[in-house]
């Protein structure tokens, strides 16, 4: 029965070209939007997770739960770092000190973020050009990002002066530096000016050359000894007063808080789009069925069962939504490029962040929603056909 119903529905869809093309076009547009909202729901998280993993570290230690990227300092960090390095589940530890400075540009001074790390340990960025030497200075070796290279016309070997703005001193503390490399920093916004130098250099920039503190500790776990969870457990045991988060936990937190607006937006727009699309398809099918009541009654009179005629309506719904929903995937992909371009101009968004990321899960949910949508949209028209009084309809068609 289903095969015959599909065959007849396919004939109807193929031969009523105008109605089919317009209906499919509408479903494609709405379906593309639906698909994009599903991509948005997880896109930022997937993109964020990928960036965290690319940094080479999978556990983070901070002093406060109130901020993830940076917060109040961790005190006596040298001793704490040594403790962590002794744990078998921990492969590498890097301390990070964040500071800020002004650098004089062609027309005005620009505010630069400077990260201080131990040059001997694994660093959380990827080098594009040059190196980050473990020894050197003065002048202090500094790694800059592409934006700094462009804005200040710097290249490897160039010299510059940073005026520290991160301490409590009234007057800025100048730091003579020489560019040793150009790197890509994971969380750089499109217009960010970021640099990195040795821990000692940044501490001096902030007027705290003898302080033993860091803004966070980055840990790379030993995969053979239990991975990130084991490393996090070891860190929590060693440093009970501090907050230890795996990348997964950071992603979950961002999902719950920082990215929640986009996830909520995705959920709301998915629901609204689905409802809207269902309504439109249901109206289209209902009008179509109402126009064919005479034929439906004749088919019933000829001997087609109620279930058979209802199946025909369902198959027509499935065909329209199936064709439109499938076409919506590439259209949605192209639309997502446009929407992603719009959202990536949000201030402070990392340059390589992606709001719309294709995942198999989004595709599966899209398919499931299409199937559910085809059934739901056909419910009312199917009911019309199911309760159709054959004799009365035939009589009415003759009279009209």
């Amino acid at each position: 029965m289903i095969r015959r119903a599909i065959a007849l529905a396919w004939l109807r869809v193929r031969r009523e070209k105008g109605r089919t093309i317009l209906g499919v076009a509408g479903i494609t547009a709405i379906g593309a939007l639906l698909f994009d909202m599903l991509l948005l729901g997880n896109g930022l998280l997937v993109s964020f997770r990928e960036r965290l993993d690319r940094s080479g570290f999978d556990v983070r230690v901070i002093a406060s739960e109130s901020a993830v990227i940076a917060g109040p300092p961790i005190e006596r960090v040298t001793a704490k770092t040594a403790i962590l390095r002794r744990a078998p589940s921990i492969a590498a530890v890097q301390r990070v000190r964040l500071g800020s400075a002004d650098v004089e540009g062609v027309q005005a001074a620009h505010h630069v973020t400077v990260a201080g790390v131990d040059p001997d340990a694994l660093v959380p960025w990827s080098m594009i050009d040059g190196t980050f030497p473990s020894v050197g200075g003065p002048p202090a070796a500094i790694v800059i990002n592409r934006n700094m290279s462009r804005v200040f016309h710097l290249m490897v070997g160039s010299r510059l002066v940073l005026e520290g703005r991160c301490g409590a001193a009234l007057h800025p503390l100048p730091l003579q530096a020489q560019v040793s490399g150009i790197a890509a920093f994971q969380n750089d916004a499109t217009d960010a000016l970021t640099a990195a130098s040795s821990y000692a250099a940044v501490a001096a920039l902030c007027g705290e050359s003898d302080s033993d503190r860091a803004d966070m500790l980055l840990i790379r776990s030993n995969a053979a000894a239990g991975g990130a969870d084991a490393a996090a457990a070891a860190a929590r045991a060693a440093l009970p007063d501090l907050h230890v988060l795996t990348n997964e936990q950071i992603v979950e937190r961002f999902s719950r808080i920082e990215f929640s607006y986009f996830r909520q937006l995705s959920s709301v727009l998915t629901a609204v789009t689905l409802f809207f699309g269902l309504l439109l398809v249901a109206v289209l099918l209902t009008v179509s069925v109402n126009q064919q009541l005479g034929e439906m009654a004749a088919l019933r009179a000829l001997g087609l069962s109620r279930g058979r005629v209802m199946a025909g309506v369902l198959c027509e719904s499935a065909l329209l939504i199936g064709i439109g929903g499938t076409a919506a995937i590439p259209i949605g992909g192209m639309l997502s490029i446009w929407l992603d371009h719009i959202l990536r101009s949000l201030p402070g968004i990392p340059a390589d962040a992606r709001f719309f990321v294709f995942t198999a899960r989004a595709l599966a949910i899209h398919a499931a929603l299409l199937v559910a949508g085809a059934v739901l949209a056909a419910l009312y028209p199917m009911r019309l056909v199911a309760v159709l009084p054959i004799a009365e309809t035939l009589r009415r068609e003759v009279v009209s």
Binding site: I30, R165, S260, Y261, Q291, L339
Partner: protein, 281 residues
């Protein structure tokens, strides 16, 4: 006495008043945000301990004098507003970093003449290098954020409009086609194409206008539900959805032309055929 179990130096807002607390209990007063009050199950009059160190060292004691509702901030609506307010002198030693003392991270200034704000700000920056001064009405990241979000929502609206336009056209073509015999009969009687097109356009405009009006009414009716949901979800007083006259006008300005265009195309599909063919001859 309670030790607040997290370090919140960044969220301590200290302010200077002409008369600081003179409680006979000798503990300085603190106001806590409602969210902090509820989360930690605090009570007014309770004594709490604040420390800038995770280990709780160098803690200071405060007495909770009251609860306040933080001003809703659209840039931070997803964050829990766990905040305290203390008098500026009492904030000594609570700073995240730097030497002992009372560091000030921001100064709010009320001018005699608000129109002077931009000039005042640039004057301050010139006199105090390293200090950023900004008028509260000046563009900043927040405006840019909402501009981007506005563009995003507009993009979605455009796609929705295209989709619904296609559907509307399909429906109009079907409905007009259903009346093709009526249309043909009217043509045979002597009504001109122009007369019939005008009829169809008027119908399309009425349907589109009624639909747009219904949509606006529906959106306005749904507005409280959306706001209540998001206000509950984020525990904030922010308003997330507001149907304004400008939005209503923009909706009608989009919807009616789409409806008219769909009617025009539908009318053309019927009127382009020869009349006699439409009555089955």
């Amino acid at each position: 006495m309670r030790r607040l179990s997290f370090v919140i130096p960044a969220l301590v807002t200290a302010w200077s008043t002409l008369g600081s607390s003179s409680s006979p209990a000798l503990l300085p007063d603190a106001l806590v945000s409602r969210q902090l009050f509820e989360r930690e199950h605090l009570s007014v009059g309770e004594t709490v301990e604040l420390s800038r160190s995770a280990s709780g060292g160098a803690a200071k004691h405060f007495r909770i004098a009251g609860v306040y509702e933080p001003t809703p901030d659209p840039m931070r609506f997803a964050q829990e507003r766990l905040e305290l307010r203390v008098h500026l002198p009492d904030a000594e030693g609570l700073a995240a970093s730097g030497p002992p003392g009372v560091p000030v991270t921001g100064i709010n200034v009320q001018l005699r003449d608000a129109a002077d704000a931009a000039g005042f700000a640039s004057d301050v920056e010139r006199r105090l290098p390293g200090v950023t001064a900004r008028s509260t009405s000046a563009s900043d990241d927040r405006v840019a954020t909402f501009t981007v979000l506005d563009r995003f929502h507009l993009a979605i609206a455009i796609v929705t409009l295209l989709g619904s336009g296609a559907f509307l056209l399909a429906l109009m073509v079907m409905l007009v086609d259903e009346r093709r015999e009526t249309v043909a009969t009217l043509r045979l009687i002597g009504l001109t194409r122009a007369r019939l097109v005008t009829q169809i356009l008027i119908e399309g405009a009425l349907i589109a206008g009624a639909g747009a009006a219904f949509g606006i009414v529906f959106a306005a009716a749904a507005e409280p539900a959306f706001n209540r949901f998001f206000q509950w979800r984020y525990d904030t007083a922010l308003v997330f959805v507001r149907v304004t006259p400008a939005i209503a006008i923009r909706s009608v300005a989009f919807a009616v032309p789409v409806g008219l265009a769909a009617s025009a195309v539908a009318g053309w599909t019927v009127l382009r055929r020869r009349t006699l063919l439409q009555v089955g001859r």
